[in-house]
Assembly symmetry: C2
Homo-oligomer: 558 residues x 2
């Protein structure tokens, strides 16, 4: 089942899911937007939800998207009606370091180039809504400033879906009083926009509209928050986002349905596809297979503590994707640079390094156990792996509480290479063993919530709030705005805030340098360490290898 | 034929045009992208092309889009197979002052909200390609600067499809050496991007790719132009734009086909929909009805001297849309402010003011005659108009060389209100009277070309190049890059560079303050007077009246 399946038309896909034509809007022949209102219905009883997460990855990625797709295909091969839910890739990484986000090998989302580029335009809509609000606020500031916006305390940032480091810090409104009030400004990548967070968490048009209105763009000269509603922009922003509220139906290499919706990064945002996509998938299939970005400390934690609070869904099983190479990397013995190929030694057997690096795997198993979810460890195999390495991973994982360990060869073999994982997942999900619980209560104080993550998930000693973060916290608490879930922005390469701390670091202090309040999304975003909300291009950006042939064939986009 | 026609599906529309399914990609149920390669075929013999233009408008617009749509419907009613070609509206004006650009009354493009918002994503693709190049150049500048880009002479600007005056002048690359090389930067509105000009002029994927490669982003420290090709970005930009090269098929209120493609503004760019759309329409219909933006001094001139050079098409007839209110306004007796309703006195009979303002009409008739095209004057009627006013317009127009004058009531009556215009257009177009000629030769020197427009079209005395423009000109000539058509950026409210000079100003000096070189688009852009390539929002922006109802209905978007 690995070779070239013919792509199904969007109409065929929709029909296989028993979708009535009225809820399906085609975009080209192989994509369709599905009416978001399907997600509002009561969830079908008996459906299962599987979360796919990973250990802390190398910059090359450990195959989480590939395994999410592969698992949905293997479950289908086992007679389960599976629907995968995934984020839309950002053009930043597509043209930057990491490349596309549509899977690879025998496990891709199709049509692959559309998924990696514009898809059905949702990222563009997010950016347009975000930047409409920015233009509205700067214009209001310039023309009589009726809301008394303090230019020094504007926190709303413009966005662009591009790795553009020159926009990290800018000065806007220059050139005279016809243009604007000069002030320091900044651009984030679109995936980090609060609008993206809102799109990923909204449950209906009314909810979207209300969330947009609650967005706070900064503070007034009399210390009051200023909202998008007060600027009169929230209605128009909702209009811009209307079609984006509908997930896009695409398919895997083997024709299983995938809902792609929203694309917040997992390091600097909540790292999960939309609540609407998950609920819709639950209403269409027996199994929802959803991916959370990066490790269990990042996307999975946010899945449990942010997204599940919105969807009301409870995961039945987690799949933890590991690779021998990444575990060896966690020994700290290898030098890896983003944008460069991984060192060839990582592809050679090294049981000592692997044994050391397994501490990282153990931490992630503990994190998932802390949320009460049984775990299947999926060893994503690579050509250089040895049986001895796989045996060691199996032994350590089982000892640390994994319910099962299974080899995955989906990259090369498609569903055939994922049956072992699928069988283990079915056994776990249908065992009824899951006792899902959150890591904190939203009504806990913010330092309590952050420390629950620092100590309970990251393995650190305590959280240290900078003076700026403390001041932001005091203001939030005085306004009664602090009872929100936490969405930490930190490096994905370490369980800690410091990418150099590999394996399973302990005893560290977790520095919160800034605390952003996304009043519309309903989350608090502590920024830790040097994490940035606008990536940069490097010396060898992917775009240089991408081209368009005269016949329209896209070259070099993977 | 004016009341609510049911919308035809995109498949029905395509089928009525005998389009094979292989060239049609649906976007929703009522829009489709059509394979651009249809435009490459030899043009069908015997087809007619009608250009719709106007006098200098008031800020409210004089109904040119409405009359383009109405004419295509009336021609259809007369048994002609008509295809309209129009630009995609920009979200800047939609949320700013002017409102939507999809027509109005009984003459709209449908689905109206899609046309006014994202359509099929082409504007977003243009912005993404534009900003990818910006990120590439700033990164190259920062990381070793291998092309020796001079930061002081970067001319490439970022874009956003928004009226955002705070971005007219910015400083980028701030915050330290990890972020960028600090330099003055600027954002234009997407419609002013050279990429938009390229999309509107490209004839094939190869041509698109080649044009992107030729884009010059600025100069090196050793005075050489630096291109997108040298930055390695042109291939990825072409990939981003691939789908945008296909026009979007929509329909009028009465179901006649419309190709919407590209959206350069007529004051600051070439003001016409794409060459591909015109050629495709010519291969699908008996009559191409295309709109050029603003007056004959703006979009029509650029249609004749830029677009027709690319398409190889020759217009058979021009329609000059006039309104009594705008002609009265050209008397100079009324005060009009953008963003405010027109003064009510403009809706009252005033034959003196009208007689004075008719000088503007006469100038536009002369401009069209200079290009050898027979002209039908279409009086776009408004409720307050009187018969005496219409008679005066008719008399003056015929005396000034109009082939025919006809009343248009398409706004209220649809095709029924456009039959008089349609009959006059058929008579003119099929008369064989057209003797199309350009206003200048591309091989003329730049000052000669600009003065051909200043004296021959705008009615001025001479062009005056600023020291900056003269220096830019000298550089272009020394590099042999000056043999290109001219695309003047100036106000649309006057035949001159000065919006205060109404009617038919003469004797003025036309100030060229800057001369931009769009090497990829293959045009030279003289900027005259105070024209800006980034509009601003005002005190009463349209977005404040726009909202989304819980059932998904869009409110206030017109």
């Amino acid at each position: 089942m690995t070779s070239s399946h013919p792509m199904r038309t969007a109409a065929e896909l929709a029909s296989a899911l028993d979708l009535p034509a009225a809820v399906v809007r085609p975009y080209g022949h192989h994509m369709a937007k599905i009416d978001h209102r399907l997600a509002a219905e009561d969830l079908r009883p008996g459906g299962r939800t599987v979360l796919v997460t990973a250990i802390n990855p190398t910059p090359a990625g450990e195959g989480k998207t590939v395994n999410t797709i592969g698992l949905s295909m293997a479950l289908t091969a086992r007679g389960k009606r599976a629907v995968a839910t995934l984020r839309q890739p950002s053009m930043g990484p597509v043209f930057g370091v990491k490349g596309g986000g549509a899977g690879g090998g025998a496990c891709q989302m199709r049509p692959m180039t559309d998924v990696n580029l514009h898809l059905t335009g949702d990222f563009h809509a997010v950016a347009a809504a975000n930047n409409l609000l920015a233009a509205a606020l700067d214009t209001s500031l310039l023309l009589d400033n009726p809301l008394k916006i303090d230019p020094e305390r504007v926190t709303w940032r413009r966005v662009v879906d591009m790795n553009d480091r020159a926009l990290r810090e800018v000065r806007v409104g220059l050139g005279g009083t016809k243009n604007g009030v000069p002030r320091d400004g900044a651009f984030d990548i679109t995936a980090a926009s609060e609008i993206m967070a809102i799109l990923a968490l909204a449950t209906s048009i009314s909810d979207l509209r209300a969330r947009l209105g609650r967005i706070q763009i900064g503070e007034s000269l009399v210390d009051e928050p200023v909202t998008a509603e007060e600027l009169g922009a929230a209605g128009a922003m909702a209009v811009v986002l209307r079609d984006a509220l509908d997930p896009t139906l695409v398919q895997t290499s083997e024709g299983t349905p995938v809902l792609v919706h929203a694309g917040p990064f997992a390091n600097i945002a909540q790292g999960n596809c939309s609540a609407i996509a998950d609920r819709m998938a639950a209403n269409l299939g027996d199994y929802v297979v959803t991916e959370a970005g990066f490790g269990s400390d990042m996307g999975a934690e946010k899945y449990f503590n942010i997204k599940c609070r919105v969807t009301g869904m409870r995961p039945d099983c987690a799949v933890l994707v590991v690779t021998a190479r990444a575990l060896k990397f966690h020994s700290g013995r290898f030098k890896v640079k983003p944008g460069r190929p991984l060192p060839t030694e990582l592809a050679e057997e090294n049981l000592d390094a692997l044994a050391e690096g397994c501490s990282n795997l153990e931490a992630h198993l503990a994190n998932l156990a802390a949320h009460g979810v049984p775990v299947v460890v999926a060893i994503n195999t690579f050509p250089g792996d040895t049986d001895a390495e796989h045996a060691l991973i199996r032994e350590r994982a089982l000892a640390a509480g994994a319910r099962a360990v299974a080899k995955s060869e989906v990259f090369t073999k498609g569903s055939d290479g994922g049956l072992e994982v699928a069988d283990a997942v079915i056994a776990a999900a249908e065992s009824g063993e899951a006792r899902f619980r959150h890591a904190y209560e939203v009504t806990d104080r913010v330092p309590t919530k952050v420390e629950a993550l620092v100590r309970g998930i990251y393995g650190g000693e305590r959280a240290a709030f900078s003076p700026q973060a403390s001041e932001q916290l005091a203001r939030l608490e005085s306004r009664g705005q602090a009872d929100l879930p936490i969405c930490v922005a930190k490096t994905q390469y370490s369980l800690s805030h410091d990418p150099a701390l590999l394996g399973r670091p302990t005893g560290f202090e977790f520095p919160v340098r800034e605390l952003r309040h996304y009043a519309g999304a309903g989350i608090l975003v502590p920024l830790a360490g040097e994490v940035m909300t606008m990536p940069g291009l490097g010396r060898r950006p992917a775009f240089k290898g991408i081209d368009l042939a005269p016949d329209g064939t896209i070259i070099g986009l993977t």
